[in-house]
Amino acid sequence: MNKLIDILDLSVPEINELIAKASDIMANPENYREKCRYKKMATLFFEPSTRTRLSFEAAMYDLGGKVLGFSDAQSSSVSKGESVSDTVRTASIYSDIIVMRHPKEGAPLVASYKSEAPVINAGDGGHNHPTQTLTDLFTIQKEKGRLGNLTVGFCGDLKFGRTVHSLISALSRYSGVRFVLISPNELKLPSYIKDGVLVKNKLEFTETKDLESVMESLDVLYMTRVQRERFFNEEDYLRLKDSYILTPEKLKTAKSDMIILHPLPRVNEIHVSIDDDPRACYFEQVRNGKYIRMALILKMLGIE
């Protein structure tokens, strides 16, 4: 496998295999400590990141490999005007696998055409974020015991939320998933996902602006942050940023076994008092993220 750009680059059996592998690594980490000895991973982060970069780096270190790269475009030759193609070509000469985040949509795909090493998309603008989706799927499977027959609510910024787009595409391949899309009009799901995935595959979905009215139907609530960096206009951001804030009061009608997910970082869209609620799984997602990325690195390097 030479690239993971979109979650749909992976088949359902491949995703299931990665989830099984991640579970095994989590249960028996000592079996994997030397698997990537002498392997190097380049992390090319043209845009800031905490969790994704740290989890990839921790994953590689826990597999016995090494990491090189940059976490800010300003500290690389990109600041001198170097193209993505040339940067990646260079990095791929020095490494066995490349992990890349870039603010422009499609940049990792361009990178995969130029790279000698496999490329993993660690987020391209508001477009795709497949390894967050693997993390989300792994968490749902662990917490709910299944990926089908679920009612999944997506709340907040469904327009620019790349994790939402990837997760909807991934869950669309499991049977019996009902989608509830909760957002202000300005941040509705883009048509290429709504028409291209939900309508095209005749999947059950509803759209609403009111989170509380649908709360009791949900098995999974996926909260998102309204992202300042996706707006060209500050006024629009300020108007929309507090559209949804999850509080204990709003959770009163939720099922006792519903799970709350969030790709993080959060600003204020989940009140901190919810962190201790047993339904809050967003820090479990962070933990799970490292293990599923370990499984992915092994797969892409062709290591059993």
Partner: protein, 141 residues
Amino acid sequence: MNIDSIKNGIVIDHIKAGQAMKLYSLLELDRLECPVAIIKNAQSKKMGKKDIIKIDTKMEVDLDIIGYVDPDITVNVIEEGKLVEKKHLQLPEILKDVVKCKNPRCITSTENGIPHVFRLCDAEKRLYRCIYCETKAAEEN
């Protein structure tokens, strides 16, 4: 109105009225040195009005571009004044450097030297999306 028939060349026929200039531009026919006739609003039994382009030289035209503009257009190859081939068109699966992605967030907006590529997503709606960012191909008028 009469235009001389050509001896050796290409006749692009059954172009929807008003589309000839778009096709002329996409096929970069302005670069040709030979005579090129653009006939607008010609009478057509089938279409009412149609446009026609006659190119007075033997050349390869990009059938993908013509198919993208309209797969019902016909391309006739003329040799020694006779029709020797009628090329059938279809919607191309991939469009390379025919239309540009208009999404300012797309990598094509900043990266030099990469082709603008669109993939056919819905043949019925003639819908193409950028392979990098999935934005719809915008109609250029």
